[in-house]
């Protein structure tokens, strides 16, 4: 789906984008499906800076390094993220195993406690690690949960896009996502998202996520990711910037990296 920030996004991960454009009669569901898979990279390693900025301009910076690996089902990611800064959370590490059909598994290693703990959390509309992205944004909504309508075609930053309006198919989807409507601007050539506007359950403009510096990170499989992603809450003016300082396609990562034992290896 949308390119949302991938799961661990920031903390690790990757963003998305997609593949080749198809053609004439644009079917919105087909566009959204392609969009969903365009960012599913088989494996990667990256360092990411997350900048949180309040409405009054105060900022907080977090730096992470991490790996992602796509699970066999081709939709869910497994990722590990280690914090490099700020100092009081250095070496905090987390392992997230997405499950599109149930709650994700999250383990976290706290160096001050020298222990790995399992965390249970399930709320898709909750903020992702204190950012302006929700878990749902990071994981990406399921195409089949939403009704999609092609509103129009247009251009964003010189690239031709489809503007697709997605609305929740039922009350569950609506309340668990926290959105009453999302408008996506999706590039016609590669099917990567460049912009998404969200409306809250009261129908008020809620947030905008913009994806820039798009890169075809896997030319073979036509996978695209934005190297810069910004989410801005229009109601609080709080925003989060994710910047990929480095990104490497890495399909052959060992499973060892994605274990709780690995979390304990402080760097």
């Amino acid at each position: 789906m949308k390119s949302k920030i991938l799961p661990a996004l920031a903390l690790g991960a990757a963003l998305f984008l997609p593949g080749s454009a198809s053609a004439e009669a644009p079917d919105p569901v087909e566009i959204m499906t392609k969009n969903f898979f365009v960012s599913k990279v088989s494996g990667s390693s990256q360092t990411v800076t997350m900048v949180l900025t309040t409405g009054s301009g105060e900022t907080r910076v977090r730096k992470t390094t991490g790996y992602t690996k796509l699970q066999k089902n081709g939709r869910d990611n497994t990722q590990v993220v280690r914090f490099l800064s700020p100092p009081d959370v250095k070496n905090v590490a987390n392992l997230l195993i997405q499950h599109s059909d149930r709650d994700d598994d999250i383990w976290i290693y706290l160096p001050a406690l020298k222990k790995v703990r399992k965390i249970v959390a399930s709320n898709k509309k909750d903020s992702f690690v204190g950012s302006d992205f929700s878990y749902g944004d990071v994981i990406g909504p399921k195409v089949e949960d939403w009704n999609h309508k092609l509103l129009k075609e247009g251009t964003v930053d010189g690239a031709k896009v489809y503007i697709i309006e997605s609305t929740p198919k039922n009350e569950d989807v609506r309340s668990s996502s926290g959105y009453s409507k999302v408008n996506y601007a999706i590039r016609q050539d590669c099917h990567a998202t460049v912009k998404a506007d969200y409306w809250d359950l009261g129908g008020r403009p809620f947030k905008t996520i913009t994806y820039s510096d798009l890169k075809e990170v896997d030319p073979v499989h036509h996978k695209w990711l934005a190297m810069k992603v910004q989410a801005k809450n229009l109601q609080t003016q709080h925003r989060t910037d994710l910047i990929f300082d480095s990104y490497k396609l890495d399909p052959g990562l060992k499973d060892d990296y994605f274990s709780t034992r690995y979390l304990e290896k402080e760097q």
Binding site: R60, D88, P111, A112, R117, V129
Partner: protein, 799 residues
């Protein structure tokens, strides 16, 4: 003196000659000022009464800026049967939560209940920690319900805040923004009311409390003000009719009164002075004072007219001559009296409380408007109207009960009873004034509503069920980013809470320390031993981080700022007495000094903090105002009478009225609050007016007749009688407020009544007797002993 009279006479003649132009000019000014009414801004928020420079208020404003929480409303759902752990009750809480969040003015992240997304259950598990929204889904089966009950029980931070100790009530705490689309609390609460009504049914009771609810009820009462204003108008007109026995006599003072109100409102619009709901009764005051001056001048007109007609002047000429004569005679006195009242009122503009500032400027403009109107349009109109008919003047001057009482009083004053009056008056003043020792300062906006009112009843129930609807907050500020993560700071916050929790009236305290202890415990498999603040700063930071991976970024927003530089400790009290809150705050200072690391500041604020601030300021302001106004009144009085003793005479009623007023409040247990500040100003303004009118008239009569008894009788029957009518008019105007079910209006009415009775008594009895006893030279001149001897003999022969 002669020059001034000549000038005034020339001015009066000019006014009558150009009366049509004068009337047109005044009407044009009126029309212009009416167009300014649209610019008048009405404030309706706590800033109105909160003294903005007081440290508690400064802290409160900072707390609100960082943490939100200005218009906190508590909505409690109480099932008629059983506790809250029933699906339909929880479903109601969830619907209330969801719907309130969607209200346009809701501060979304501050809407809190068991169903709020930010209200999480933190649970220790074998493997780690589980953080989930408390009420994601309403439990259906008994097993689910029991689990839910246990989860709520595991989070002490919510007990007494979101769930009552007896588990029979659950609360939704809402917070709203105010902007131009919510000019008052009624508009602000409209959406909330609708949502709550939808949930009210036979199965539950729903109660609401909080500042917006109190404010809303007050706003509803304020909106009835036009009715009371109309009634007051009617009552004052009836009293005028009784006084003058003619339609003209009834209407003219009302014209002055109503135009004065319009002018002062227009002037406020013009000068961009705001108005507020607490000042909705001020128009009655202005109308009453304006009518008071109008009565003095009109009484004099009738008197002069009667005299001139008796001297053989034809009615038309007598009419004009009487208009001029009354302006010349009463004009200067009115100017002096009005100026003193206006200065007194304007001096309130320096108050630290906006509502009192508004009152001072509003009333000051009103008095000035009345002066201008009485010197322009009223004589112009009066000279245009047909002269009074014979039977009208006869009726006006007919000797009635009041005249007989005043004559008897005059006889007794001159006839040697004066020392008794002085002694008795002094005794009464001292006795009543002694109540001052029982006077307490307390501003409690709840008490503006009657105990049986819905607001009070709901508030009481909520106070019984939950931690308390009155709050103070401590703002903890550290020097740098992440300062709050210092274990020493969190431990100090915890100790402060432990201390506060032990105070008998404290129902609940909350802070980040509670959450931190709960997380530490959860990370140690829920072992109660770990319900403490961790010793390591890194661990604290990591817990918070951990929480952020499953909680929301705004979950702790009411406890700590984004930078972890400032935190707040919320303290809920069941008792709204400010004395008690102030005592707790002072005692807490010791705990704060002993526990917080150097460099960390802890300041107090919150809703009760603001009220304490208001009390402080009222006491200080009051004392300052009193002294300042006394000096002004004394100097002006001394100047006018060219005598220091004269100044004293004008200033005595001020002190006597204030002392007896406050004494009465002390005896009756009425606390000194912002209402009292306004009535006190009124007592000073009107009290000084009375004395000035009486002294001037007495001097004039003494000079004319050379007879103390005649001067006493004449001044009593003219100015004295007018004073009684003014007092009765003001009293009558305010008496209609007794019909209101709003305790604020009843109290105001009581205080005004007491003020009117006391100031009339002081002017007519006490000061007159004082004058007879001390025979001040500025009144009686050098021949005073001879004058009095003659007078006493005359009385003996007479009585």
């Amino acid at each position: 003196m002669g020059d001034r009279k000549a000038f005034l006479a020339r001015y009066a003649e000019w006014t009558i000659r150009h009366r049509k132009s004068v009337i047109v000019a005044v009407l044009l000014v009126t029309a212009f000022l009416i167009t300014r009414l649209g610019h008048l801004q009405i404030d309706s928020n706590p800033d109105l009464w909160a003294p903005q420079k007081h440290p508690y208020v400064v802290t409160t404003n900072r707390i609100e800026k960082i943490f939100g929480g200005r218009n906190v409303t508590v909505i409690a759902v109480v099932p008629k049967q059983g506790d809250i752990y029933q699906p339909f009750v929880l479903a109601k809480i969830k619907r209330l939560q969801d719907k309130i969040e969607l209200l346009p003015h809701a501060v979304r992240h501050n809407i809190t209940s068991l169903a709020a997304n930010k209200v999480k259950v933190i649970k220790g598990t074998e493997e780690g920690m589980e953080v989930r929204p408390m009420l994601e889904k309403v439990p259906e089966t008994p097993e689910e319900m029991e689990k839910f009950r246990a989860e709520v029980g595991s989070m002490p931070v919510y007990k007494n805040a979101l769930v009552s100790a007896d588990q029979r009530a659950a609360a939704v705490i809402a917070d709203f923004k105010q902007d131009s689309t919510t000019p008052n609390f009624i508009a602000m609460n409209a959406g909330l009311r609708k949502i709550v009504e939808e949930e009210r049914d036979g199965s539950v009771d729903i109660y609401m409390a909080g500042l917006p609810i109190i404010g809303e009820a007050a706003d509803r009462e304020f909106m009835k003000m036009p009715i009371f204003f109309g009634l007051a108008l009617l009552v004052i007109m009836l009293i005028q009719f009784w006084s003058f026995r003619s339609v003209q006599g009834m209407i003219l003072p009302m014209v002055t009164g109503i135009l004065s109100v319009l002018w002062s409102l227009g002037l406020m619009g013009l000068f961009n002075v705001h108005l507020d709901p607490l000042n909705t009764t001020t128009p009655i005051l202005i109308m009453a004072i304006a009518a008071g001056h109008a009565i003095q001048i009109l009484k004099r007109y009738y008197e002069e007219y009667g005299r001139l007609v008796a001297q053989g002047l034809d009615p038309k000429a007598a009419n004009q001559a009487a208009v001029i004569e009354s302006m010349v005679r009463v004009g200067p006195v009115m100017a002096v009296a009005g100026a003193i009242a206006a200065i007194t009122f304007f001096s309130l503009a320096g108050s630290g409380v906006s509502m009192v500032q508004h009152f001072g400027i509003f009333a000051g403009f009103g008095v000035l408007s009345a002066l201008v109107l009485e010197m322009t349009i009223i004589p112009a109109v009066r000279s245009l109207l047909r002269p009074p008919r014979k039977h009208e003047t006869a009726r006006e001057s007919k000797v009635g009960v009041l005249d007989r009482i005043l004559t008897t009083l005059a006889n007794n004053l001159v006839g040697g009873r004066a020392p008794w009056f002085v002694g008795g008056g002094l005794a009464a003043i001292v006795l009543i004034g002694a109540g001052v020792f029982f006077l307490r300062v307390d501003n409690n906006f709840r008490l503006y509503h009657k105990p049986s009112s819905e607001v009070r009843v709901h508030d009481k129930i909520l106070n019984e069920k939950f931690g308390g609807t009155n709050s103070i907050q401590f703002l903890i500020q550290t020097p740098g980013q992440d300062g709050i993560k210092d274990p020493a700071v969190l431990q100090a916050m915890d100790k402060l809470q432990t201390f506060l929790d032990r105070q008998p009236t404290v129902g609940k305290t909350q802070s980040l320390a509670d959450m931190m202890k709960r997380m530490n415990q959860a990370m140690h498999a829920d072992d109660p031993k770990y319900y403490v603040i961790p010793e390591s700063r890194d661990l604290i930071a990591q817990y918070l981080f951990l929480y952020s991976t499953s909680g929301g970024p705004q979950d702790f927003e009411s406890f700590v700022d984004n930078d972890y530089r400032s935190a707040s400790v919320w303290v809920y009290l069941k008792d709204d007495g400010t004395t008690n809150a102030d005592r707790i705050a002072k005692a807490a200072q010791v705990v704060i000094r002993e526990n917080f690391p150097p460099g960390v500041t802890v300041q107090m604020g919150g809703s009760l903090g603001q009220v304490i601030a208001l009390n402080d300021v009222i006491v200080q302001d009051k004392t300052k105002n009193m002294v300042q106004m006394a000096i002004v009144v004394f100097l002006l009085g001394a100047l006018v009478f060219r005598s220091l003793v004269g100044g004293l005479f004008v200033v005595i009623p001020l002190f006597a009225v204030m002392l007896t007023n406050f004494g009465l409040m002390g005896w009756l247990g009425t606390p000194l609050d912002i209402t009292a500040m306004s009535t006190a100003a009124m007592a000073i303004g009107i009290g000084a007016d009375y004395e000035i009118y009486l002294l001037f008239r007495f001097r004039e009569e003494l000079k004319r007749t050379g007879d103390v008894l005649a001067a006493t009788r004449n001044s009593m029957l003219t100015s004295g009688k007018a004073i009684l009518f003014v007092a009765i008019s003001v009293f009558g105007g305010y008496a209609v407020l007794q019909m209101s079910s709003f305790a604020f209006y009843n109290q105001l009415s009581n205080m005004v009544t007491a003020t009117m009775v006391i100031s009339a008594f002081i002017a007519l009895f006490f000061l007159r007797a004082l004058m007879m006893v001390f025979k001040p030279k500025f009144i009686f001149g050098e021949q005073r002993e001879a004058l009095f001897l003659k007078a006493r003999q005359a009385v003996r022969g007479d009585v």
